[in-house]
Symmetry: C2
DNA sequence: TTGAAAGCGCTAACAT
DNA sequence: ATGTTAGCGCTTTCAA
C-alpha cells in the first residue's frame, strides 16, 4: 500500500484541466474563480468522488476548527450532560467536536499519549470533570493550546475554570432540609478528584453551623459519586442507633443509591426519610419519587466554556479566569417535613 | 499569528546540535541512534517543551492509529455501553479512539461535514446504532475507508455489521412470559431508525404465534426507545378494558418508563404486572425491582467490531459480513407468574 | 481570474 | 550512527 487509495486534489485538477490551486479555490469558495471553472471543478470532484483530506488542510492554517473534549468516564450522567450541552454549543460556533475518553487514566500510565494527541489536532480543549495527577495539570498549565476546564476545583490553577457554585448549592440544600425541620442530616461524600465533593461538604458544614448544629462524624459517609457505594453507605446510616431523618448526597446518582437502601429497609421517601441530591441528571426527574436536587445550569455552563475557549483560540484575552454559576434548588418529592421525633431519639439528638 | 506557537522538531534538533532526522529517530526509538545523542535530544525536547504534531506525523504514514466512533445520541445508555466497551477494546489494540456525536444529524443538514471529517483523520470508523438517511448509507458503502456498524438492521448493506440477535432475544423474552402464564402481553415499540425495534417485534409475534395466541393490535404501543413515551404508552395500556398482565418493552429505558406508569396506578411489579426490557443497561440492575431483561454482550460485540475493523485496516479480507451475538435472558425481579385471572377477563382472553 | 512556487512538520528511503 | 533528499495534500504567498 504505497499510496493512499484516496483521490487527491491533483487528480481533480487534472480532470478539470486546471491548476491545483484553481481547483482548491473553486471548491472552497475562497478567493476568486469564475462560475464556469467552479462548475467544471465541482463536476470533476463529484465524478471522482473526491473527499478533501482533513489532515492536510489542517496542517496549513493553524486552525482545525475542531474542539476536543476530554472526559475520564463517559458513563457518568453528569459528564454526559456536559458533553451533550457542549456538542450543541460547539455546533453553534460552527466548529466540530471530538470526545476523547481517557478511561480514568490521566497522567498515569499511557496518559502521555493523550497529551501528545493534544497537539495539532485541536484548536482547543475542554476538560470535563477532569481527574488528573498534579503533574498532568502542570503540563497543561504550561501548554500553549487554549484549554478550559469544567468543574475542576481540586487545585488552584491558572487555567480558566467554568464551574458550579458548590458551596452555596450545598448550603441551600441543607438549609432547605433544616427548614423542613430536619436535624439529623447525613452527607454522602463523592470522590475527591475534582474537589467538588469537598466544597459540597463545606457547604453542608456551613449550613449546619449556621443552624447551631454540631457536625456528627457518624453522619458523614464515604462515597465515590456512584450508586453502589452510596447504597452501602446508606445501609450503615440507617443501622445507626440514631439514624438521620434526611440525607444529602453529593450527587444524584448517589441519591438514587440511597433510595434503594431506604426501600430495602421498608422505609418511605419522604415520609420516613428525605433525600436530596446534586446535579439534576435526567434520571432525577424520572425517579420514584422524583428527586429533589440542585441543578447545574448545564447549557449555560457549556456556553460559557465554549465562548471562553473561542476567545482564547482567536487570541483574544480570556475574559475571566474563573466563571461560577449558581446552582438552583429543584424541589421535587423526595424531601418532606421531618418525621415527628420519638422521645428517645429526640433526647439524643439534643445532646449535641 | 503567523507561526504556530508550538516548538517543532527543527527547534529541538537545532538545540541538540543534530539533524532533524536524528532528532526524529532519537525520540521515536525507530532506527539506530546512540545512547548519547538520544539523551541529548530528549533533554532538548524536554527543555523546549516539545510536543510532536500529530497531524504532520499522520500525513506521512497512511496510518493515524485512530479509530473514530460515530453516535447520534450520546445520552442513550445503550450507546454509552457500546462506546465504553469500544474504548477499552481499542486501547487493547493500541489505537486511540475519538467519539463524534452527530446529534441525530446524519445525512441531513450539515451531515456533509461529518463525511468529510471521515477522511484522513481516522484509520477506521465504527457507527454505533446509526440513524442515517439512505443517501448517507450509500455514501458510506462507496467509501474506501474501513467501516463497521453496530446494531444496524434497517437495510441490507454491504458494510460489515456486528449485532445482537434481536429476533431470538425478543422471542425468548416473550416465551419466558408465556411460561409464567401470561397471555395478555403488550409490546412497546422503539423508534425505527436502526431496524432493531422491528426485529424485536417480529420475535414478539413469533413467540405469540408459537403459543397459539393471536396478535392484539391494542397491545402494541408506539415508543421511541425512551422513558417518557413508554410511560405515556403504558398509561393507555393500563386503561384498556382488558389490560395486559405483562409488558415487553423494546428497551430497558422504556421498561423503566413502564415502571413509573404502573406505580402511578398503584399496581405492583411483578405481582400485578410483569415487565421485561431489552439491552441490560446499568440502570436495569439498580431499578426497583431489578429489571428482568435481555443482555447484549457489549464487550464481546465491541471486541468483534474492533477486530473486524482492524482486519480491514490492515488490508486483510473481512472475516464475516455480519456477526450476530445471541442475547442472554437475565432473570431479575420484575417478572413473575401471571396474576390469577378474573373470570370476565379470562373469557375475553380466551376468545382469541 | 488563474498559475507557479514554497512550505506546513514530519518521516521513509537512500546516502554517507 | 547520522545526515540528505524528497514528498505526504493542501493552501498561502506572489506573480502573471
Amino acid at each position: 500500500m504505497k499510496k493512499k487509495a484516496g483521490v487527491t486534489l491533483v487528480d481533480v485538477a487534472k480532470l478539470a484541466g486546471v491548476s491545483v490551486m484553481t481547483a482548491s479555490r473553486a471548491l472552497s469558495g475562497e478567493g476568486y474563480s469564475s462560475e464556469e471553472t467552479k462548475a467544471k471543478v465541482q463536476a470533476a470532484a463529484k465524478q471522482l468522488g473526491y473527499i478533501p483530506n482533513a489532515l492536510a488542510r489542517m496542517m496549513k492554517g493553524a486552525k482545525t476548527n475542531v474542539i476536543g473534549v476530554v472526559v475520564n468516564d463517559l458513563s457518568s450522567s453528569v459528564v454526559n450532560c456536559f458533553v451533550t450541552a457542549l456538542s450543541e454549543e460547539v455546533r453553534k460556533v460552527d466548529m466540530d467536536l471530538f470526545i476523547y475518553n481517557s478511561l480514568g487514566d490521566m497522567g498515569g500510565g499511557k496518559g502521555k499519549r493523550l497529551s501528545q494527541m493534544l497537539h495539532g489536532l485541536w484548536d482547543g480543549l475542554v476538560y470535563v470533570l477532569p481527574r488528573m495527577t498534579d503533574d498532568y495539570l502542570e503540563t497543561l498549565e504550561k501548554s500553549t493550546s487554549p484549554i478550559v476546564m469544567i468543574n475542576y476545583f481540586r487545585h488552584e490553577t491558572s487555567l480558566p475554570v467554568v464551574g458550579g457554585d458548590n458551596v452555596n448549592g450545598a448550603r441551600d440544600a441543607v438549609s432547605y432540609l433544616l427548614e423542613l425541620g430536619h436535624r439529623r442530616i447525613a452527607f454522602v461524600r463523592g470522590s475527591a478528584y475534582t474537589g467538588q465533593s469537598d466544597l459540597r461538604e463545606r457547604g453542608y458544614a456551613a449550613a449546619l453551623a449556621e443552624a447551631g448544629i454540631a457536625l456528627d462524624p457518624e453522619l458523614i459517609c464515604e462515597g465515590n459519586f456512584q450508586e453502589q457505594m452510596a447504597m452501602e453507605g446508606t445501609r450503615k446510616l440507617l443501622a445507626l442507633a440514631d439514624p438521620p431523618t434526611a440525607i444529602f448526597a453529593a450527587s444524584d446518582a448517589m441519591a438514587l443509591g440511597c433510595f434503594n437502601a431506604i426501600r430495602e429497609k421498608g422505609l418511605r421517601i419522604p415520609q420516613d426519610i428525605s433525600v436530596i441530591g446534586f446535579d439534576d441528571i435526567p434520571a432525577a426527574a424520572m425517579a420514584q419519587p422524583p428527586l429533589t436536587t440542585l441543578r447545574h445550569p448545564f447549557e449555560a455552563m457549556a456556553q460559557a466554556a465554549v465562548q471562553e475557549l473561542m476567545r482564547r483560540i482567536k487570541g483574544e484575552p480570556g475574559r475571566r479566569h474563573r466563571i461560577e454559576f449558581p446552582s438552583e434548588l429543584v424541589m421535587r418529592e423526595s424531601t418532606g417535613p421531618a418525621p415527628a421525633a420519638m422521645p428517645a431519639k429526640r433526647s439524643r439528638a439534643r445532646q449535641v
